[in-house]
């Protein structure tokens, strides 16, 4: 029951581990933000596995971007709502 290739989760953990030195040198507040980015990539690990991309880190970066953009969309929607309810507040 062995595997020839590492699973996508192993791949993800290896990628994350390879940034350990980078992370260590960051400020604590930046470390938290970096960890958040990895958490958001982790949410799409199934899709990353299905993509079977030769360079999985590209997919992880895209997944981080995707989660960031979802946040932007959400904030934009909330702002629009606010502007609609209280026009001239800005």
């Amino acid at each position: 029951m062995g595997r020839t290739l590492p699973s996508i989760t192993q791949e993800f953990l290896q990628e994350q581990a390879s940034f350990a030195r980078f992370r260590r040198a960051l400020r604590r507040s930046d470390q938290i933000a970096l960890d958040d980015l990895f958490v958001s990539a982790h949410k799409h690990i199934a899709a990353a596995g299905y993509a079977a991309h030769a360079l999985p880190f590209e997919i992880f970066l895209l997944a981080m971007l995707l989660e960031e953009h979802k946040q932007v969309m959400l904030l934009r929607q909330q702002m629009d709502e606010k502007l609609r309810l209280h026009p001239g507040d800005d």
């Binding site: 029951m1 595997r3 020839t4 958490v39 982790h42 799409h44 596995g49 299905y50 079977a52 030769a54």
Partner: protein, 747 residues
Amino acid sequence: MTELTGWLLDVYAGEQGLTIWLLGEDGERRCLRQTFPVTFYVASPAGERADGRAPDLRSAWRWLSSQPEPLHLARTERRDLFAGAIPVLSIQVQRPGDLPGLFRRFSTVFPNLTFYDADLPISLRYAAVFGVFALCHCRVEVQGNQIKTITALDSPWDLDPEYPPLRTLGLEPDCNPAHAEPKGVIFSYSGYRYRLPLEPVRGLLANLNAILRMYNPDLILTNWGDTWLLPKLLELSKDSPLLLNRDPSALITRKEQRTYYAYGQVIYRGAQVHLAGRWHIDTCNAVMYHDYGLDGIFELARVTGLPIQTVARVSPGTGISSMQIMTALRQGILVPWHKQQAEAPKNLLELVHADMGGMVYQPTVGLHSNVAEVDFVSMYPSIMAHFNISPETVVLGEYHPQTGLPITRAERGLVPETLQPLLEKRIAIKSQLLMLPKWDPRRKRYKAAVSAHKWLLVTCFGYLGYKNARFGRIESHEAVTAYGREILLRAKEAAEDLGFEVLHLYVDGMWIKKPGSVTVADFQPLLDEIVTRTGLPIGLDGVYRWVAFLPSRVDARIPVANRYFGVFQSGEIKVRGIELRRHDTPDFIKELQQQMLEILAKAPDAEHVSDLLPEVQALVRHRLADLKRGRVPPEKLIVRQTLSRELDAYRSPSQAAVAARQLAEHDKNLRPGQVVRFLYTLGKPGVRAWDVPGELDNRTIDVGRYSTLLEHAAETIFQPFLSGGIWIRLPLLSDLFYPNRTPVLQE
């Protein structure tokens, strides 16, 4: 010539031909004989030379002609599953009992030949020719005790076969021999139950022999019979014969204990004692006995064609490969002694695309209401049957990453051919189970059958890619997972097209919700749509009143697959991946989690769950107080862990290994794969094996450690009902914890 009807009990090779035990409809147990020559084949691995001669087969022929066994040699052509028709030397052995010995010598002298049909169980050969199997209802014509013809009156695929009234003798030592030295044996048969002491030996043996002679049981059902009781009885009866075998001319077969590694687990199988003419089943050494019992063993024997005593002790993998061998024998396909198909070369990108498992999505963590769980019915076997996936139907060299490898539909493959009737029977029994009332006596047998089938079907997929499977090829294994991913994605797309939100996907199941969809009928259009898009049967497992998907223990922001608990609309609780489901969790902790869930299950809907949290919290406080005041019986604190290696092989011994070493000091040696039971104790070494002799001092129990376990288990259940999303360690007993807030329902 006399005609008899009855049930087949056993078939094995005797001195001349075969010995067949028949339980007649008249209640008579008959020992019959039949001549049954068996054939195996050899091929030259290099094939024939250009001049049509195969030199190594010629010398094999010469060697075989000089052997003492009566043989019939011939040159013929047979079909290899992969290579098609090939020239072979056929060796017909007149007495089936001669084959194993002859083959052993033959394969040592000619190790380079390719052997076929050489090591098949005799019961499979017999079943392939006559269509009869253990417990088959059949009609035989006999002359003297010689069988002339035998005909099956039922088939393995009958839902309600008629079973004979069996006589069962129960035997068990008066305690578990792994824990203490037994002093007596408990007999139970036809309504009697009594205990006889092991000493004096003569009385015990005389009594046992009398029962064996007078009651003459068909089945000896024991506890620890393989590993302790029968070997012990045989040792005690060295001077006077013990009538354990019904067939006095046959020997008792014994097999050594062994440990092996399968499906990520170390598995231990005890030694075995097989009887001739009646069956011996050790409930402690039988595979999955706790799961499907005798009914399951009988069902497995019927569908696989293996003898009862064998099928009770082998893994489901052996069962499914026996079914494949039977299909091959019936279709005249050669069964290789060793597997020959190596993996075809792939480039890296192809490997990256092919070497993937099932689709597992991260769930949306939190509490959700009105969630439906839909599951594909036996997904992987259905895929194999529906898309004709079999080692020989996979076209190599043409690669298509999205749908897996191309499959030839020209001929029905060996694996789909084997699976089809099993799948149909499973679905027929499952639909019967849905309709039968709760009191119906057939339910128990149906449930056992469904459970036994399940394991056959599960392992069938694994065996496609298993390195030792006779009919395996990794590409067909990869094709199944590729189709599986495709199908799950199609199901996801169907759900999203119909406006459902997909909360979780797990290999063959999907959790979905949509505002307004509450009843079973609300989800039916989606089920129909999925069947249209995938062609595979899908069922609704149920609709949850509420279900909570849990995050990782390590990082609460990260969701993990298959870790959830919830309550169906029927009130049934379903739990996966939490402490309650783990084998090593002490009963005390399991019971607590179960009770917590039972309280929460009383809520009519998700909105009212929070009303019950104070009650749950009170329960946790009570249990914690019980623990601290020593009111929990020590046996409920036992931790059970499986040893993963030999004791000497541990570099830093686990707690299980430390406990096992304590046992070893008292001459109780456990093997890898066996379970060791222990308690957490204060001071060094921190554990105490449960089975070491001597009184346990309750004051040495490490209450602090058990409290931590308890708090963790309670947190797991509370977690989804607390706001904020991010979990912080909360002091369980402080008022801060009092969950006087509304749960956060995920919209």
